[in-house]
């Protein structure tokens, strides 16, 4: 009855979660997505809904009020939510990345302090890795966290860039070097957003994902107790590898959600729109486009499921996650592109959702490791004896 998982099939519980989030995305997320995009404001009421469903505690251990979801459930939730709105799904996945880091690295006291509240939706988490001059190469970061032995505090200085949830967040996981001259000294810290010297900049004006706030965050002599150091000095990036791999699978799943939304919209439009006395769906060129799009979506979804399965089984999922992220984000971009094409001139206007899918899809090729970086990871898997 529990329905053991066979191949890419879901267990009964995973299928029930999928159905739940699908309904929520259809009823509560998608209807407001266009307006949120146009206004560039995050739908906080949707976030409250996510919290009620327990999704803000997706990667919080049960002991702290979360549901400690397996990788497949995590992927399914991300796909379904992104099918409703990529901006909302991205905000949630970053929040989840932060709770994962806290669950894994924080002291019991800090977990107790933050996780139950975060599981209930607020404070929202932000993940501060990228910098103005260090994106694909985070090792090149210049933010520092110098230890002040007298106060037993770390003093953070530097600038982070492209921080999702930047203005909504109440707490951040921040990566910084404890020794400015040592590239191997990157360490992870827990920084409350109300700490003195935590300065949130203005939101970026973006091509897509416009309902999600992306801001710079500056640290100006921002002090945190030594107990807020999450990882051993110098272990900031490597310790977080597993978490980041999981995050990548989540982003890949979101890309599948966007691609699927675009495919659905294009299919419906092709049935409805008539030219030359017949619906577009009778024209072979269009039918074959849709066939290719549908195959892209299905293939991407399977790569995501396989990466999730590996991660769940405790296998090394780095290459599988990179493959899923690379393939699914390219599928999102090309399927959204063809969806606009199938809509013709109407697809180029805000009257139809496909123009938003098109703008949103692009970012999946950029954040959480660009396509080029994913290919590097995959190639390393081919040539290295790791």
């Amino acid at each position: 009855m529990t329905g053991a998982r066979v191949g890419s099939a879901l267990t009964d519980e995973q299928a029930a979660v999928r159905d739940l989030v699908r309904e929520f995305a259809r009823e509560e997320v998608r209807p407001g997505a266009r307006e949120a995009d146009a206004e560039g404001s995050f739908p906080e009421d949707v976030w409250d809904g996510l919290a009620e469903l327990g999704l803000t505690g997706l990667t919080v251990p049960e002991a702290y009020g979360g549901s400690d979801a397996d990788e497949t459930t995590y992927a399914v939730v991300n796909e379904e939510l992104a099918h409703g709105s990529l901006a909302v799904a991205t905000a949630l996945s970053v929040h989840c990345l932060v709770t994962s880091c806290l669950a894994e690295f924080a002291t019991d006291t800090q977990r107790e302090r933050w996780l139950p509240e975060m599981a209930e939706g607020r404070p929202v988490g932000a993940f501060c890795l990228s910098e103005p001059h260090a994106g694909s190469n985070p090792a090149g970061m210049s933010t520092t966290a110098e230890h002040d032995p007298d106060a037993d505090e770390y003093v953070l200085n530097g600038e982070k860039q492209w921080i999702t949830n930047g203005s909504r967040a109440g707490v951040a996981v921040v990566f910084a070097k404890v020794d400015p001259d040592d590239p191997d000294s990157i360490t992870q810290f827990l920084v409350p957003a109300d700490a003195a010297g935590f300065e949130v900049g203005p939101s970026e004006e973006k091509l897509g994902l416009r309902a999600s706030d992306t801001t710079p965050i500056a640290f100006d002599d921002c002090r945190v107790p030594a107990a807020n150091r999450l990882t051993e000095e110098g272990r900031g990036l490597s310790a977080a590898l597993g978490t980041l791999t999981g995050g990548r699978i989540g982003i890949a799943a979101q890309a599948v959600g966007v691609a699927w939304a675009a495919l659905e919209a294009a299919t419906a439009y092709a049935e409805e729109r008539e030219q030359f006395g017949e619906p577009l769906s009778e024209i072979q060129t269009i039918r074959h486009k849709l066939a290719e799009m549908s195959t892209d979506v299905a293939a991407s979804r399977l790569l995501v499921r396989e990466a999730a399965r590996r991660a769940e089984a405790g296998e090394d999922a780095r290459v599988a996650a990179a493959q899923a992220k690379y393939r699914a984000s390219e599928a999102a971009m090309s399927v959204a592109n063809e969806a606009v094409q199938i809509h013709g001139g109407y697809g180029y206007t805000v009257e139809y959702d496909v123009e938003r899918f098109y703008r949103d899809a692009k970012v999946t090729e950029i954040y959480e490791g660009t396509t080029e970086i994913q290919k590097e990871v995959i190639a390393r898997g081919l040539f290295d004896t790791r």
């Binding site: 009855m1 529990t2 009964d12 519980e13 299928a15 029930a16 979660v17 159905d19 739940l20 309904e23 929520f24 809904g49 009620e52 469903l53 327990g54 999704l55 505690g57 997706l58 549901s67 979801a69």
Partner: protein, 262 residues
């Protein structure tokens, strides 16, 4: 008190569907919890949360496939479920009285003080099961309830009933009672991830007629589906054009022609 909620999995047809024999092709149906039963479940769960109901039991007549839907009721907070099915139901079109036979037997077993039932099922839309059950088991009842305030100490349910023509009846029903629930009674919640996980461990007791002390003869239906077809429909809608004055004039003309306000 124990609350029994009757729930049904109903198939909803896609926009385009095929008819196979006397039914819509199952590939064109999407199965879901009957909308009105969702309100009934919500009402029961709210009673449990208010400390009034000690146990909420969902009961359904349905094949194994229905468990997925029933589990949603469990995920929303029902404590356990009873699923009644028997070969005798296979391929038949159950009438109200055979369903009532089954539910009567379940009520005998469960001894609830309150039975909540959707006002109707979205597929057959008989709208009769709840009230017919009340009659059979000798409970008081109120149909088409859209507001409920239960005074457990006094053993009374204060309800609003929706009547025709926008009229509401405010009435009291003595417990034990059957209430059939109308849209608007509450806002059904979404299940939560935790609820879904707990629901996987909750009991769905598979029960057949013999378990209930019934025989196939007891539930023999007086109804047979003889034909399923889509009624021919044609519309001749007139789109009224012109400015407000012209449109209103034309509308008045049409209404007069049709005999309105003559």
């Amino acid at each position: 008190m124990k609350v029994l909620v009757t729930v049904k999995e109903v198939g909803e047809a896609d926009d385009d569907f095929e008819i196979e024999g006397t039914d819509i092709a199952s590939s064109d149906l999407e199965y879901d919890l009957n909308e009105w039963d969702d309100y009934a479940i919500e009402a029961a769960v709210q009673l449990a949360e208010a400390g009034i109901a000690e146990e909420v039991v969902a009961v359904t007549i349905g094949p194994e496939r229905a468990e997925e839907t029933i589990r949603m009721a469990l995920a929303k907070g029902a404590d356990r479920a009873v699923r009644v099915w028997d070969d005798a139901f296979e391929g038949t079109f159950a009438d109200v009285s055979s369903k009532v036979d089954v539910f009567e037997a379940v009520v005998d077993e469960e001894e609830p003080e309150l039975v909540l039932s959707g006002v109707q099922a979205a597929d057959t839309a008989f709208g009769a099961t709840g009230v017919a059950l009340a009659e059979r088991i000798g409970f008081d009842h109120a149909a088409v309830v859209n507001d409920l305030d239960l005074d457990a100490d006094a053993g009374v349910a204060n309800v609003h009933r929706e009547l025709e023509g926008g009229i509401e009846e405010l009435t009291e029903v003595d417990l034990p009672a059957v209430l059939t629930v109308q849209t608007g009674l509450n806002e059904p919640r979404y299940a939560s991830l935790r609820g879904i996980r707990q629901a996987q461990r909750k009991e769905i007791a598979a029960t057949d007629l013999a378990d209930l002390g019934l025989t196939p003869a007891d539930v023999e239906s007086t109804l047979t589906l003889t034909e399923m077809y889509e009624p021919e429909s044609d519309s001749d809608a007139e789109l009224i054009e012109g400015d407000a004055g012209e449109a209103a004039g034309r509308l008045a003309e049409v209404l007069r022609e049709k005999g309105v306000g003559a």
